[in-house]
């Protein structure tokens, strides 16, 4: 019995210590944001500031249009997710239920598309967007992010539809539903958790992009996304760590909140293929 208790204590100790070490960088970001600037430039570093300086958040939002950056990121992500979901719901359903000529090679191509380096695709996209005068507009980002998202969402949704028994549609069609009606009235409602997980995953993919934003939006300050905005605060030699930390927290917060509350959906999407 005693050995049991020691095991428990050891286990809890290890878990707490591991989490503390792995999450220390996040904690340090937070502490840096609320420390007075002069304590950041002194040794030894303070793991907990004597006076918490919350106004850093106010200062930084006053000096940089962080709200606008977040808004742009949101618009870009929502746009890209909307486009991607609109096409991949149907494509995923088709790949799951129909045997279409070329369906297999399309599936294979989508898998390969997930391996495309963004740094390769960004070059022709730059040429194309330049010719149609889209550089600097949020549309360039929405389309570019769709190249990241569509392969993922199509494949994920196919996986979800595969888990829904065909008998459901058959029953609906016996009751007089058209094939499309069966999709909209029976399958999509059942697949809602899957749809939510997929859309959420796409949102995170878009929100995390830096390469496309850096290339297409650098000269269009009013359209900067959050990630691009943050990197402009990082100087080559001098960086105001106080302010960049506060801004970083504001930018990371939406995704962290999504993760903390909807982790099950996100992880479900990630691991959908792993348990086969």
């Amino acid at each position: 019995m005693k050995a049991r208790r020691i095991d428990r204590v050891l286990l809890y100790g290890t878990v707490v210590l591991t989490c503390a070490m792995l999450l220390f960088p996040v904690y340090w970001l937070f502490i840096t944001a609320i420390s007075p600037p002069d304590t950041l430039r002194s040794f030894p570093p303070r793991l907990w500031p004597e006076i918490a300086q919350w106004q850093t958040f106010a200062t930084v939002t006053g000096q940089r249009p962080i709200g606008l950056w977040l808004w742009n990121s949101t618009i870009a992500a929502l746009g890209a997710v909307a486009i991607s979901m609109a096409v991949s719901v149907f494509a995923g359903y088709s790949l799951s239920r129909f045997r279409v000529r070329g369906g297999n090679s399309l599936g294979l191509f989508i898998l390969t598309a997930k391996m495309l380096p963004a740094t390769l695709l960004v070059i022709p996209l730059f040429g194309i967007f330049r010719s149609v005068d889209m550089i600097g507009s949020l549309w360039s980002i929405i389309l570019a992010h769709s190249t990241l998202i569509v392969p993922f969402t199509t494949w994920m949704l196919k996986g979800y539809f595969d888990t829904i028994p065909r008998e459901l549609e058959q029953a609906a069609m016996v009751d007089g539903c058209s094939p499309l009606g069966a999709l909209f009235r029976v399958i999509l409602p059942v697949a809602t958790p899957g749809l939510a997980a997929t859309a959420l995953y796409g949102f995170v993919l878009s929100w995390s992009d830096y390469a496309y934003a850096r290339t297409f939006l650098t000269n269009a300050q009013t359209n900067w996304t959050a990630n691009l905005g943050i990197t402009t605060m990082k100087g080559e030699y001098i960086t105001d760590w106080n302010e960049i930390s506060a801004a970083s927290i504001l930018v990371a917060l939406p995704i962290i909140v999504i993760y903390l509350f909807l982790e099950r959906y996100l992880v479900g999407g990630l691991t959908a293929g792993a348990e086969k």
């Binding site: 428990r8 286990l11 809890y12 878990v15 591991t18 792995l22 999450l23 960088p25 996040v26 340090w28 970001l29 950041l40 570093p45 096409v87 494509a91 088709s94 239920r97 279409v100 399309l106 898998l111 390969t112 391996m115 740094t119 390769l120 695709l121 960004v122 070059i123 022709p124 040429g127 194309i128 010719s131 769709s146 569509v150 392969p151 199509t154 494949w155 065909r166 058959q170 094939p179 929100w207 830096y210 390469a211 850096r214 290339t215 990630n227 990082k234 960049i244 930390s245 930018v251 995704i255 962290i256 999504i258 993760y259 903390l260 982790e263 990630l270 293929g273 792993a274 348990e275 086969k276």
Partner: protein
């Protein structure tokens, strides 16, 4: 016969116009924003071109980009850097991810919270992770220098971003911290699908914890872990934002991977033909490497 013309899901092998119709929008979009650009960049890689414009007359076909590429020391250096980074980061990500997954797979109160925390770095955008580590490894007031000096491990402040090896180490650190949660999440899902009976049987046979790990857990986890490792490798291979924001590929190209090299030539020097050639080679290496590593099973795992 009316019934044969009706769409029937009972026979899934049946080809149906609806299948094509549903697929059409996706095919159109993919053709427009992925296939067409890909062909453009393939075409660009065979032209001696700076900044291309659509509708411009095409430059003459040439393989000079590829010739120059394979003859340049910069390219082989980038290959070597990429290789080192892929091996080190994948290995340590897998180790850390597996260890954390095994830890939170234990039964204890609050483990769902522990699971959430252990994989939290996954939710931090790469650019933000770079900001955090750039500050921790700051050369004047960074935490790491203070730690190393006060522990007596270093007698002077290290200038992390001007020393090639130190900069490479920092890049590795950021990528490991960003990458291990993915392994952890996947491994945890794999662990939960191992039947409890296996462990009961092993206990009855007198297997200790170490033997259970080596003879049951790891072999059962291998398929998931293998695929996960390949996905991590591909991520490291293609990653742009972490390295670009952290070091820009420097100092002295010590952290310049193939991805960074592609981008530098395209948008630093505006030699897009040459840059496309680098990118195409990167893509081909990616595809070959992943096919070799996961082979024909590729389809079942994504």
């Amino acid at each position: 016969m009316k019934s044969t013309s009706r769409y029937s899901l009972a026979r899934p092998s049946r080809r149906h116009w609806l299948g094509y119709l549903l697929l059409a929008p996706a095919v159109l979009l993919i053709a427009l924003i992925i296939v067409y650009p890909l062909l453009v960049s393939l075409d660009l890689s065979f032209q001696n071109v700076g900044i291309p414009r659509l509708g411009q007359t095409r430059r003459p076909f040439t393989t000079v980009n590829y010739e120059r590429l394979f003859a340049s020391a910069e390219f082989w250096n980038a290959c070597w850097v990429t290789f080192k980074l892929v091996v080190i980061v994948t290995f340590l990500c897998s180790l850390l991810g597996l260890a954390t997954a095994l830890l939170v797979n234990n039964k204890f109160k609050g483990r769902s919270l522990a699971r959430l925390f252990v994989a939290l770095p996954w939710a931090i955008p790469e650019v933000i992770a770079v900001v955090i580590f750039a500050w921790i490894f700051d050369s004047s007031f960074g935490l790491m220098n203070w730690l190393l000096v006060s522990l007596g491990l270093s007698d002077q402040m290290i200038n992390w971003f001007s020393d090639p090896q130190a900069a490479f180490a920092v890049v590795c650190a950021v990528m490991i911290w960003k990458g291990y949660p993915f392994v952890s999440i996947m491994a945890l899902a794999g662990l939960q699908s191992i039947p409890e009976d296996f462990y009961h049987a092993a206990r009855v046979d007198g297997a200790g914890p170490w033997q259970r790990l080596v003879h049951i857990t790891l072999p059962c986890l291998m398929p998931v872990l293998g695929v996960t490792m390949v996905l991590v490798m591909l991520w490291v291979f293609r990653d742009f934002s972490i390295i670009y924001v952290l070091t820009g590929g420097g100092p002295l190209k010590a952290t310049q991977t193939l991805s960074i090299m592609t981008y530098e030539h395209a948008f630093g020097f505006f030699k897009m033909g040459y840059a496309s050639a680098v990118g195409i080679v990167t893509l081909v290496v990616c595809i070959i490497a992943s096919r070799l590593l996961i082979g024909r099973r590729a389809e079942s795992i994504y």
